[in-house]
């Protein structure tokens, strides 16, 4: 096969949920799945790629594999997370800058929270796609799973999304005793805002609004529209002065659907 068709973008029909464009030639026989297929017929490609596993980004965007150590973010393997974690300090500095930037452009605490929430929403949408894609690939495309009921969806956020974002699942998922359509995600100590000390004159502000927005983005992506807000409750828990509750107020439409689906 000539080198010109080395970066085909067509995974086998029927087994892919993420093909972007189709080209005339496919390198994969139908029995192979994209994440594990090897290219044996393209010497240029084999020279440049150290491993025989083709990162999905390369299939999608047609990038050229580079030697490891100086790999473009788009050229990285989508499933390999080891070694690509970001330093917490770097994140803390950028998040501090994000808050300072948002603060300089907002005229009230509510406005600032709204801005943080909007940013988190964008992040949530992207994280959802990535986590779902990884899960699908981890299950070898045989049994792609996507939750559709409310409780499994909330558990998915509680466990998988929180684990992906914070490195550990949330400390609690509770249902409000007052309202049927309110659920709470509890995190005793958020890595996102652990260095932030809110001044007294802004004590209402919860920088976890970013997380709230993130959760809202994920839930929206799973067709569970909700109004998500963050509330600091550390004053009631001396052991966890940074305890924050992410309050999820579900849309009436979700409650109706749950009722229609029944048990």
């Amino acid at each position: 096969m000539s080198s010109a068709v080395g970066y085909s973008t067509t995974p086998p029909a029927g087994s892919s949920r993420f093909s972007l464009a189709s080209s005339s030639t496919s390198l994969y026989s139908t029995s192979q799945n994209p994440s594990s297929s090897t290219i044996n017929n393209n010497p240029n490609r084999r020279e440049s790629a150290r491993s025989s596993i083709v990162p999905i980004q390369q299939q999608l965007f047609g990038g050229t594999a580079q030697p490891q150590g100086n790999v473009n973010i788009l050229d990285r393997s989508i499933n390999k997370t080891k070694g690509s974690e970001m330093a917490l300090s770097a994140w803390a500095f950028i998040f501090a800058e994000v808050i300072a930037y948002s603060q300089s452009r907002s005229d009230s605490i509510a406005d600032l929270e709204k801005r943080l929430s909007t940013l988190g929403y964008e992040v949530g949408q992207r994280i959802l796609s990535l986590v779902l894609l990884r899960n699908t690939q981890a299950s070898n495309l045989k049994d792609p799973k996507r939750e559709h009921r409310l409780i499994p969806i909330l558990q998915f956020v509680h466990t998988q999304i929180y684990k992906y974002v914070f490195g550990k699942p949330a400390d609690g998922l509770e249902r409000s005793s007052e309202a049927e359509d309110e659920y709470m995600l509890v995190l005793n100590e958020s890595p996102l805002s652990q260095f932030i000390s809110v001044p007294k004159d802004m004590s209402d502000l919860s920088c976890e609004s970013f997380t709230a927005g993130l959760v809202e983005g994920v839930l929206d992506g799973l067709e569970v529209p909700a109004r998500v807000t963050a509330h600091w409750v550390g004053d009631q828990y001396p052991d966890h002065p940074q305890r924050t509750v992410i309050l999820i107020k579900l849309d009436q439409k979700v409650m109706d659907r749950e009722e229609a689906l029944g048990k």
Binding site: F93, I99, S197, P199
Partner: protein
């Protein structure tokens, strides 16, 4: 060793933080501490110029510690010019480690806090809590 107090001096010589952690040294009014911090800043700058045998290519650091009767002070200069001054009892040991811990807490609780303005007085509850924990561990 007992830690009597901690000052943080900005690179311009202004006192941005001061706390007392024991009642051995007589308490001073804030204005006095401000003046003392300013003087220390000046002395530090002078001593940096007074190195008798300067090593070529190496910038002299300036005043590192001073001692009085029964108590002393240790000065730690960060690469960005912020100075931490610890007032302590004599004899002292483990001050270098303590300085690094204070610097670490400062980097975490002050520099990563979006509500802090550089060179301005430190107003962070988190910074104070963490320092208090550290100091009560040392003073215990």
């Amino acid at each position: 060793m007992t830690i009597h107090g901690l000052w943080v001096i900005s690179k311009a010589g202004g006192l941005v933080f001061s706390r007392s952690y024991s009642d051995v040294l007589p308490p001073q009014p804030v204005n006095t501490i401000l003046t003392l911090a300013g003087i220390l800043h000046g002395i530090h700058a002078i001593t940096a110029k007074l190195t008798p045998t300067p090593i070529p290519g190496v910038t002299a650091g300036g005043l590192e510690s001073f001692e009085a009767e029964g108590w002393g002070g240790k000065v730690f200069l960060t690469p960005t010019g912020t100075k931490f001054v610890v007032l302590h009892s004599l004899p002292q040991s483990g001050l270098d480690d303590l300085m690094k811990r204070i610097y670490e807490i400062y980097s975490d609780a002050v520099m990563k806090n979006p509500f802090h303005t550089p060179e301005m007085p430190i107003n962070s509850a988190l910074f104070e809590t963490k320092l208090q924990t550290l100091m009560s561990g040392v003073n215990a």
